[in-house]
């Protein structure tokens, strides 16, 4: 809590430096044809996932709230930017096709035609009310932050005020996510049902720019936002606010009887986490090209938690490393490049078996290396763990275990 920002966060310059270096290397390699456009996109998306993992670590690793709702904020961020991308791009296409007509089309005609194009798949031509701001980029960018934050604020206020904690809170956040997904699957929810929003990789007005260039733009913006997100999270957790968050994680009673409004702190960090996750989603989905409600299914929430756990919770770089390593290894295993392995009667198809490997590594990390991959950094920086003879660091369910802490 004391000393300058850099003294409190020695990892910040290192992380920013490595991030910048990696971005430059990938850019140079992409320019010389060393890496494919799709791989650049994979890397850009990985950076967004790392940002989402950072936000997850903020609530789980530091405040002890295992939120399974963060993936909903992620998808909502994608939906918000996707609404503008689809509207603006369809508008351009429609305007072009109508321009050849003898009588120039009225704005209302263009709007109707755009509506027909976008909502034709769900049997409608009308813009639903929630698309009111879809024509404006600044408005949708604001919504990228506002919608997830507002959802987190309202949900968090209800949940924290009732003092729901631990596994019950996790179940509640999961229920929220699933309910939102099921709602968005409906055509009348106004976000094109199970089709979701697609074609997001095409930037409006940038038809002449090849995807190889667009992918680099997104890589740079993702790296920039990840860097900014890292600095922001480091600032938040290294001060007194962070000390209180960790206090809440390990021993909520003590914090409360010191006079701190525990619910207010939880709400603040949950909302901040939702806002950061929304931004991550808004950068991710234009690279993925499509966002639909299936993105919010429970497996996705679990993934987010697994990344942070494998990376090491309560360490910002741990969450980042976890998300990057696991998602890159995952795309390697599921890409189909790896030949199947024949073991007598059993045939190991990696695409299917990857989840088993992931599950086993999650169990292994939890049992044998609770500091996760981030713990490797601790080995290198020679941090010790405290000798507590097997005692945990607090009575609360989210509290640190002896093996996770550092002396």
């Amino acid at each position: 809590m004391t000393g300058s920002f850099l003294a409190r966060n020695p990892s910040v310059p290192l992380v920013l430096g490595l991030l910048a270096l990696a971005t430059v290397i990938v850019t140079v390699m992409a320019a010389s044809g060393g890496v494919s456009t799709s791989f650049v996109k994979t890397l850009g998306m990985t950076l967004c996932l790392a940002l989402a993992a950072l936000a997850m670590d903020l609530v789980w690793g530091y405040a002890g709230i295992l939120s399974l709702g963060n993936i909903a904020f992620f998808a909502l961020g994608g939906y918000m930017i996707g609404m503008w991308l689809m509207t603006a791009r369809t508008e351009a296409i429609v305007a072009e096709s109508l321009a050849g007509q003898a009588i120039p089309p009225t704005p209302a005609e263009i709007r109707d035609a755009v509506g027909g194009q976008i909502f034709g798949v769900v049997g409608s031509t009308e813009f639903p009310a929630i698309w009111a701001f879809s024509g404006s980029l600044p408005a949708q960018l604001a919504l990228v932050v506002l919608v997830p934050s507002l959802l987190a604020l309202v949900f968090g206020w209800l949940a924290f005020r009732s003092r729901v904690t631990g596994v019950y809170l996790s179940i509640l956040t999961q229920a929220m996510t699933l309910a939102l997904a099921l709602y968005l699957f409906q055509n009348d929810a106004g976000l094109r049902g199970n089709n979701g929003l697609s074609g997001l990789q095409n930037l409006p007005g940038m038809g002449g720019v090849p995807q190889s260039t667009v992918s680099l733009w997104f890589l740079w913006s993702s790296a920039l936002m990840l860097g900014l997100g890292y600095v922001l999270c480091a600032w938040v957790v290294s001060g007194k606010f962070g000390a209180i968050l960790r206090g809440i994680r390990d021993n909520e009673q003590r914090v409360r009887f010191l006079g701190y409004p525990v619910e207010g702190f939880k709400l603040a960090v949950f909302t901040l986490s939702a806002a950061i996750t929304g931004v991550a989603g808004a950068l991710y989905y234009p690279q993925a090209g499509i966002v639909n409600p299936a993105e919010m299914m429970p497996i996705a929430s679990i993934y987010l938690a697994v990344w942070v756990a494998i990376g090491g919770r309560g360490r910002l770089y741990g969450a980042m490393i976890g998300a990057m390593v696991v998602s890159l290894v995952s795309s390697f295993f599921t890409s189909g490049q790896l030949p199947d392995l024949g073991l007598g009667p059993v045939r190991i198809v990696w695409v299917d078996w990857w989840l088993v490997i992931l599950g086993l590594s999650f169990v292994a990390v939890t049992l044998f290396a609770p500091r996760g991959l981030g713990g490797l950094v601790d080995l290198w920086s020679q941090r010790r763990r405290p000798a507590r003879h097997g005692a945990d660091l607090g009575p609360d369910r989210g509290s640190f275990r002896e093996e996770e802490a550092e002396a």
Binding site: R246, N251, Y260, L393
Partner: protein, 246 residues
Amino acid sequence: MNTLLEVSGVSVSFDGFRAINNLSFRIGKAELRAVIGPNGAGKTTFMDIVTGKTRPDKGRISWGEKGLSLLGLSEARIAREGVGRKFQKPTVFEDQTVQSNLIVSLKNRRGPFAALFYRPGSGDFERVAALAGKIGLTAQLSRKAGELSHGQKQWLEIGMLLAQEPRLLLVDEPAAGMTLAEREKTTDILVEAAKTRAVVVVEHDMEFVRRLNCRVTVLHEGSVLAEGSLDHVTSNPDVIDVYLGR
């Protein structure tokens, strides 16, 4: 006497069991008080009620000069009003240094945004150093609280309470599990603290209570059985019956 806290006619039951039964209690502004009683006498429940953790079924609790009612206030609000509570088991932030524990406890604005932009100033460090001296943890300031011995954790928790600058300190069995030397030091800290504020010590151990050398309140079945000096209450036949005599 100048009253700081007055609890009158408070009752609470859990599933029909009357944990506190028409309890009345008052304490002055700078007073040390020991509360003793057999298991299940309602000592901890009494603290729960004062600190807002448990809501009583009936009764009044009035606080300070203005007679503010503590009923219905949140735990955090009551703590901000100046009631500090030490738990039976040492509860400190084990993942953080002793210094960080004390800085977090210092009386400052408690909101999330105030905490976000808070930077400890030189005055804060001086107060932390003074507190650390008082509780004998000056040499341990940069150590993780989780590594401290049991006794040191107890002192740290008392130090954290003092950092809050409470007007009333509720201390639940501070001497449990301590060595003799540690007990003596704990007594000194509490007696010193009671010079400027009210301190209520719940304790099982008679020797410890004797060393505190203060007024004693005996609880039994949720209400006050006797009150007075230790010698006075220990000669009370009722007290001998329920608690000491066996």
